[in-house]
């Protein structure tokens, strides 16, 4: 199993803090799996211009290849202007059509306002669906009041992150079984 945690913001600390914690939890629970972590603050990506992802070179091809090779992707993201940050949308633009087919994708969202709770439903899920991701229905929504002295605090949010991991990993296994069953019917 190839797991990727993608911190989808080019600014601030909260998404990075949350995704780092999630990565540590994954490492503790799934030490036998490959776990990659990409923070968009650490890479230099061009804007998408429609070419094949292998043709960008540099960080872009590295990041995109890691995404294409993943079986499971946890996307961390803040909400900007009631929608996904441009840096994250750019990732989706850089990917080819159907890029997330066969991949299980879940989200943890950091936001300054609970008015934004449904933004992932309205704004993120349609894009993930278009890319053919198997989307984990529930996401974790974290308010900035959960960050105290640079750390994610509160039992509730920890339990919700644990559950996100369980939901995602179980769904991923299940989708793999479904795919295997379907492909077995093809007879080749």
């Amino acid at each position: 199993m190839n797991i990727l945690v993608l911190s989808g913001s080019n600014a601030g600390n909260k998404t990075r803090t949350a995704t780092t914690l999630l990565k540590e939890k994954l490492k503790a629970q799934y030490s036998g799996e490959t776990i990659n972590y990409i923070n968009l603050q650490d890479v230099d990506l061009p804007f998408a211009d429609g070419r094949n992802y292998l043709d960008y070179g540099g960080d872009a091809t590295d990041v995109l290849t890691t995404i294409m090779d993943a079986d499971v992707i946890f996307i961390g993201s803040p909400i900007f202007q009631a929608s996904m940050p441009a840096a994250l949308k750019n990732i989706f633009d850089l990917l080819p059509q159907n890029a997330l087919e066969g991949k299980t994708v879940s989200m943890l969202i950091t936001a300054g306002s609970d008015k934004h709770f449904l933004i992932p439903e309205y704004n993120y899920k349609p894009v993930l669906s278009y890319l053919k991701a198997n989307i984990v229905p529930r996401y974790v929504f974290i308010l900035d009041t959960n960050f105290i002295e640079g750390e994610l605090q509160g039992d509730d949010v920890h339990l919700r992150l644990d559950r996100l991991i369980d939901d995602t990993m179980v769904l991923s296994e299940t989708f793999k079984e479904v795919t295997a069953k379907k492909e077995a019917q093809f007879g080749f």
């Binding site: 070419r51 292998l54 290849t65 087919e101």
Partner: protein
């Protein structure tokens, strides 16, 4: 239909049925069944070998496309085609595609015309734009000019092909003043049949129709019906621009693999397509989409000889195309397996397809 088409048309005798040929993009990839990667020298020679087999099996066309990316050996595709010309004597030879956007049309004409003379008039060119774009940087062009480069170079290429003396000014190449581009093919028009390669874009099919050049359309998968709209638009646009669509050839191209037992064909070819696409495009080919080839309505021509005959005839009914070009060697297929496909194609598919697609004048 007063408007005379200024372009050089391929000679396709429809009274003999539709033409069937092969194309290779010259991938150089490991055989996914064995993991073996043959040396580039052997791969190149095997492409020439396949052309000879195609000729012996009575196929009409052998085509090689240009690619500059990793896992391919067809960078100098016209050089390779010249070896094909030397090794064969009857089969038509075509490039497919020549990436005209990043080439000098003068040099392409000189090379292709030379192959035409060496092969006694068998050469054709399919001009395209490339789906992978590493070659733009490699050859010193900007990807921002992707569309403009193709349109300008394609137009110049046609102009050179149709005029012994050329005066031309453009953005991406030095001007030509009373230029005589030689050698000239030794046919009545002293030019080469040139096709426009059309990918997924309706606009490109429309442009081909607007100027009345033959259209070449490649497809990977999906229902045949989905590709009909582009061919219809091409013919409709040609008609609106004063060209007789009946005199405008259409060619289609796609995956083909034949085995006596349908499922053997799927078992053998799928890993080549899936692993090959991962190397060439960074994304495998969904098994589900490939499996749909078992339905006559899908354009993936993989299966038993009878199934393939039925499929090509179904596609012909839908497209009324003049030529079908099969890609049988994608992703490291061994030369022995290429030969098996060619044998079955020549013995069991071509005669049947030709029998049912013969057309008499006025039909």
């Amino acid at each position: 239909m007063e408007n005379k088409n200024p372009h050089v048309m391929p000679e396709i005798d429809r009274s003999k049925g539709m033409e069937i040929g092969l194309y290779s993009l010259g991938e150089h990839m490991p055989n996914p069944h064995t993991g073996e990667l043959i040396p580039a020298s052997r791969r190149l020679k095997e492409i020439v070998e396949a052309a000879k087999m195609a000729e012996d099996a009575g196929l009409d066309v052998f085509q090689v496309g240009e690619s500059h990316q990793e896992h391919f050996v067809s960078q100098a595709h016209l050089v390779l085609l010249s070896a094909v010309a030397q090794a064969t004597s009857k089969i038509k030879i075509s490039s497919g595609s020549t990436i005209i956007s990043t080439s000098d049309p003068v040099r392409v004409f000189e090379d292709a015309s030379t192959i035409d003379l060496l092969s006694d008039g068998r050469m054709e060119v399919v001009a395209g734009r490339a789906s992978r774009v590493g070659l733009y940087e490699l050859l010193g062009y900007s990807l921002n000019d992707y569309e403009a480069l193709f349109e300008e170079k394609f137009e110049l290429f046609l102009k050179i092909n149709e005029n012994k003396t050329v005066n031309w000014n453009g953005e991406f190449r030095a001007p030509l003043k009373d230029a005589q581009v030689i050698p000239r093919p030794e046919n009545n028009e002293e030019g080469l049949p040139i096709w426009r390669a059309v990918g997924g874009s309706l606009a490109s099919a429309q442009k081909a129709g607007r100027i009345g050049v033959p259209m070449y359309q490649a497809h990977l998968g999906g229902p045949a019906e989905a590709f009909k709209s582009r061919i219809d638009l091409y013919r409709q646009t040609a008609f609106e621009n004063g060209f007789d669509p009946d005199n405008l050839p259409v060619a289609t191209a796609g995956f083909l693999y034949i085995r006596e037992n349908m499922m053997d064909a799927y078992r053998e070819y799928y890993p080549h397509i899936n692993e090959g696409m991962k190397l060439s495009n960074g994304q495998g080919f969904p098994k589900e989409a490939f499996a749909q080839g078992q339905d006559v309505k899908s354009v993936i021509n993989v299966g038993s000889p009878e199934h393939i005959v039925e499929k090509i005839l179904y596609q012909h009914e839908m497209f009324n195309h003049d030529r079908y070009i099969a890609q049988i060697d994608f992703g490291g297929v061994s030369i022995d397996n290429v030969k098996r496909t060619i044998d079955l194609l020549g013995e069991k598919v071509v005669p049947e397809v030709k029998k049912y697609t013969k057309q008499t004048k006025g039909e």
